[in-house]
Amino acid sequence: MNINIRKNIVSVALSVIITIIISFLLLLILKKDPVQIYSLMLKDIFASGYGIGQTLFKTTPLILLGCGLALCFHASIFNIGAEGQLNAGSFVIGIVLYYLSPLPAFFAVPVSIIAGMLVSSLFGIIPALIKIKKGVSEVITTIMLNFVVLGLINYFLLRFFAVKATMHSEKINDSFMFPKLSVYSDIFQGSTVNISIILALITAVCCYIVIYKTKYGYKLRAIGFNPTASKYIGVDVSKIIFSSFTIGAALTAFAGVNFILGYKGYYEFGFSNNIGFTAIAVTLLAKNNPIGIIFSAFLFGILDYGGLVVNEIVPKEIMLVVQGVIILAIFSVDKIVKNYYLKKG
């Protein structure tokens, strides 16, 4: 097996194990039984189609966001703005769908998604241009844009679009809604998982092909390795950074597709609940590999839904702690593994 792949698998597995150990210790300090909590969580998730369905529902946006971020991360663009980008796109999807209510679904749905993607991508284009033209790191600009976007949405939503005394927009036409998987199979009875998960899987495969099997992906990864060298072998660095940032941001709008078209039927302020940041952890754990992202997103889906399951024994917020630990664990383990292989030669 390729040494790089082996290194990656070793370090990912180790970091997951370390995270589990740390969470065990934390639970023991709090005088809770970690074995009972984890077994309850796994039993509840995997014993029923409903549990799996709910987990997949939580997994869906993480896959889509992860793919968007992977495109950026491969080119060494540290896009922390997914939270803002996904909200901008989702907001627009919700509003456009509401105003297109009288039209048939085959027209309204694609139009709204395209509109959402355009708006999401706008918030990738801005930091991309600032980076290319002014050489300003995208980290600060995307952090700042997150606040700007959320503030603007809050204003426009409450001022013009929200249902009175709520934080959500008007409900869209029922005929627009994506079919739930329970329509096709009784296993998922009652679960909100919908065909967006298929969309997410297709996106992941496409992203994998783009990143690893095309000339574009080759250039993308070359920039990530060494921007100066890629420039000298004739890669248009600015063009690649611009396009990957834009496409990556556009993909974040799909998180809203899952929520609006697949679940609630309206845009709700705060629906994203920081998945834009969780997705960073998902992507990093998968080493920016879209196929890996499917699995790491599923792992985070388990943590997310599992938190709800064990909420009676231990507050579900424990899973947020686990997510934070996992990011730090991956990178420390990565360094240590790298040093180990370096010593071994």
Binding site: I143, F147, G151, P315, F331
Partner: protein, 302 residues
């Protein structure tokens, strides 16, 4: 006109000076760290950790002094951890920052529910008392009698002195400008980055403590991006303590204005005022308002 007089009063000015404190402490926290070459976007997370630990001990013991000491120690320990990841293991500083922010937000949420059984706020407690007598001066009393506010005023000169007038400051900056050259001249770059991070964590601890002590309770999400505004102020202030203070005054002016507008029932939307600091920062970064130049080796592991 009435409306303007009501807003731009002495009380309003005092408000601006007070609100400036957490921004200024956060901005200096970020600045010390960046001057030594470590990008610290976890200021937000460090403010959360200190605010929560202060509230925790305050509620449990009712003693603000214990709470203050505990909260600072918690932050220094976290600072050591941050240094372990960024300086010792040389992990990407942004990644560590994002990880810390997630971890602190999650941990505080979790402990809030676990210890206090609520996801919103801790029970109330008495914050750090104000200096007596000075307290009763009209308008400015609240500003001049607050230890942390006073410290932040002193910090304008202190930070400037430490960074630009002492041997320690020179070495710290050399670690952030050209670590290889510094090391070749015998400066222990890693050691100085470690010290800088400890100072950074101490200052962000004070920022968090001031907020929670003035609110007399910790509520989830109360830091509300102030750590990031601190980062913004640092950029706009061009990594210089004096200029940073002016940038912070501008941001605290917006905050005070927003509150006054809300109280006066004006129809100017507060959300749009809230996003101004972030918008201004982006404009400054683009170069509309002067050029900015970070320390040369900012973010480069050594």
């Amino acid at each position: 006109m009435d409306f303007l007089i009501q807003i731009f009063s002495f009380a309003f000015l005092a408000q601006v000076l007070r609100f400036c404190t957490p921004y200024y402490l956060a901005a200096n926290s970020a600045n010390f760290s960046e001057r030594s070459g470590v990008i610290n976007i976890a200021v937000e997370g460090f403010m959360i950790s200190s605010a929560f630990s202060f509230a925790l001990i305050s509620v449990l013991t009712g003693n603000w002094f214990f709470a203050l000491i505990f909260s600072v120690i918690v932050n220094l320990v976290l600072g050591c951890l941050f240094a372990l990841f960024t300086v010792r293991l040389k992990i990407d500083q942004i990644v560590v920052g994002v990880g810390f922010n997630l971890l602190m937000a999650g941990l505080s949420k979790f402990l809030l529910v676990y210890i206090f059984g609520t996801s919103s706020a801790t029970p109330g407690f008495n914050g750090i008392p104000h200096i007596p007598f000075i307290d009763s001066i009209p308008y400015l009393g609240k500003v001049l009698s607050d230890y942390i506010v006073l410290f932040s005023f002193v910090l304008i000169f202190l930070a400037n002195h430490i960074l630009f007038k002492t041997r320690f400051g020179l070495r710290l900056r050399s670690a952030g400008e050209n670590p290889e050259a510094a090391e070749s001249l015998g400066v222990k770059v890693r050691k100085y980055r470690f010290y800088a991070l400890l100072i950074s964590c101490f200052l962000s601890a004070l920022a968090g403590i001031w907020l929670v002590s003035n609110q007399n309770s910790y509520s989830d999400g109360m830091i509300a991006g102030r750590g990031f505004i601190g980062l913004a102020a640092m950029i706009i202030g061009k990594w210089k303590p004096g200029k940073i203070f002016i940038a912070c005054l501008m941001f605290s002016f917006f905050e005070a204005l927003e509150i006054s507008l809300q109280l006066s029932g004006s129809n100017i939307p507060s959300q749009l005022i809230q996003i101004l600091p972030y918008l201004i920062t982006i404009l400054v970064l683009i170069g509309f308002i002067g050029k900015t130049k970070p320390p040369a080796a900012d973010g480069v592991p050594y």
